[in-house]
């Protein structure tokens, strides 16, 4: 798409509407056990026979993978597609890391504009996990749980909670929100 290049030169302009904060606490029934001690939670809160494992290669390769028993992985440095089954396990396994979720639909024009810039962000912020969710019929329960009206909507999570939300393809607002949350 030609706008992939022109969007970069047009700099970071907002395309749509409002910013709201909506803290949502999720009580996940899925639990995890960290196998790497330096990433392990200090308590036994997350322990289950279907536990997720944390694998880190942070220092040498600048690559950190969060895997779950559902056999998906979210790797920093790229955008990972999630669905209603894989999202919360990955969030739960993120520990202190900031998680950003791009909620998009198949035929949303602004979603296509911001997608390459979102990809660039994932390469820039290697301490943040970038996810995307196709808000189709299959993932409707998760979309409803998280709350979405305007597409795209970006949810920023930390410690298993939604702490910020950006409605619309507003790149500048998204960057500012990520900076705020990751440094908090």
């Amino acid at each position: 798409m030609a706008l992939l290049q022109s969007a970069a030169t047009l700099s970071h302009r907002s395309i749509c509407c409002s910013t709201t904060s909506s803290p949502i606490t999720h009580s996940s029934s899925s639990s995890l056990t960290a196998s790497a001690s330096n990433w392990a939670p200090s308590n036994n809160k997350y322990r289950n026979k279907n536990a997720a494992q944390l694998v880190g290669f942070v220092r040498r390769n600048k690559s950190f993978a969060v895997s779950s028993s559902l056999d998906t992985a979210a790797t920093v440095g790229q955008v990972t597609e999630v669905d209603k089954d894989t999202f919360w396990p990955i969030v739960n396994a993120a520990g202190d890391k900031t998680v950003v979720l791009d909620m998009y639909t198949q035929w949303c024009g602004p979603c296509k504009i911001i997608a390459p810039k979102y990809q660039e962000l994932s390469q820039k912020y290697d301490d943040v996990i970038f996810l995307k969710l196709d808000c189709n019929q299959e993932n409707k329960p998760l979309a409803k749980e998280l709350g979405i009206r305007v597409v795209p909507t970006f949810k920023i999570l930390k410690h298993d909670k939604v702490v910020k939300e950006i409605t619309g393809a507003k790149f500048d607002d998204l960057v500012a929100a990520i900076e705020t949350v990751r440094t908090s």
Partner: protein
């Protein structure tokens, strides 16, 4: 692996995606439904007419215009009405019946606000100079989706 299925009303593409896992590989199958060519043509003509009528212009990147037109066509196929593809709904059928978000939606009709970036006022940074889009443009710019 990609399978193409042709049905009377829908063309569906099933593609397999490899999970980016560092451990085991997993394949997920995602069904992408394409709108009918008839509905795409209807929404293409509607978009051109409404752009002229409202004094708005298509996006400088016609790919955005194409995607939204296909989204409208997809909803027209499935719901009978061109529900805005840039919103999420609890009950799409009810929303289509209610009409607020049927294109042209109320915000567009009242304030020329189109967050899909289909109809852009001239002062919008992303507005191009055209009120025309061909089926060929739509096909080409959405071919890899």
């Amino acid at each position: 692996m990609t399978l193409q299925l042709q049905a009377p009303s829908f063309a569906a593409t099933i593609s397999s995606l490899a999970s980016p896992s560092l451990t085991r590989s997993t394949r997920r199958f995602v069904i992408r439904v394409e709108p009918t060519e008839k509905s795409v043509e209807i929404m293409r003509k509607f978009s051109e007419q409404y752009a002229r009528k409202s004094g708005t212009y298509f996006c400088v990147d016609k790919g955005v215009t194409s995607v939204v037109i296909k989204g409208l066509a997809d909803h027209k196929d499935s719901l009978g009405a061109p529900l805005c593809p840039c919103r999420h709904y609890d009950d799409k059928q009810a929303e289509a019946g209610q009409g607020f978000w049927n294109c042209p939606c109320v915000p567009m009709r009242e304030r020329k606000e189109c967050h899909c970036m289909l109809f852009l006022t001239p002062e919008n940074d992303f507005a191009g100079k055209e009120q025309i889009i061909t089926m060929e443009e739509i096909r080409e710019s959405t071919a890899n989706m």
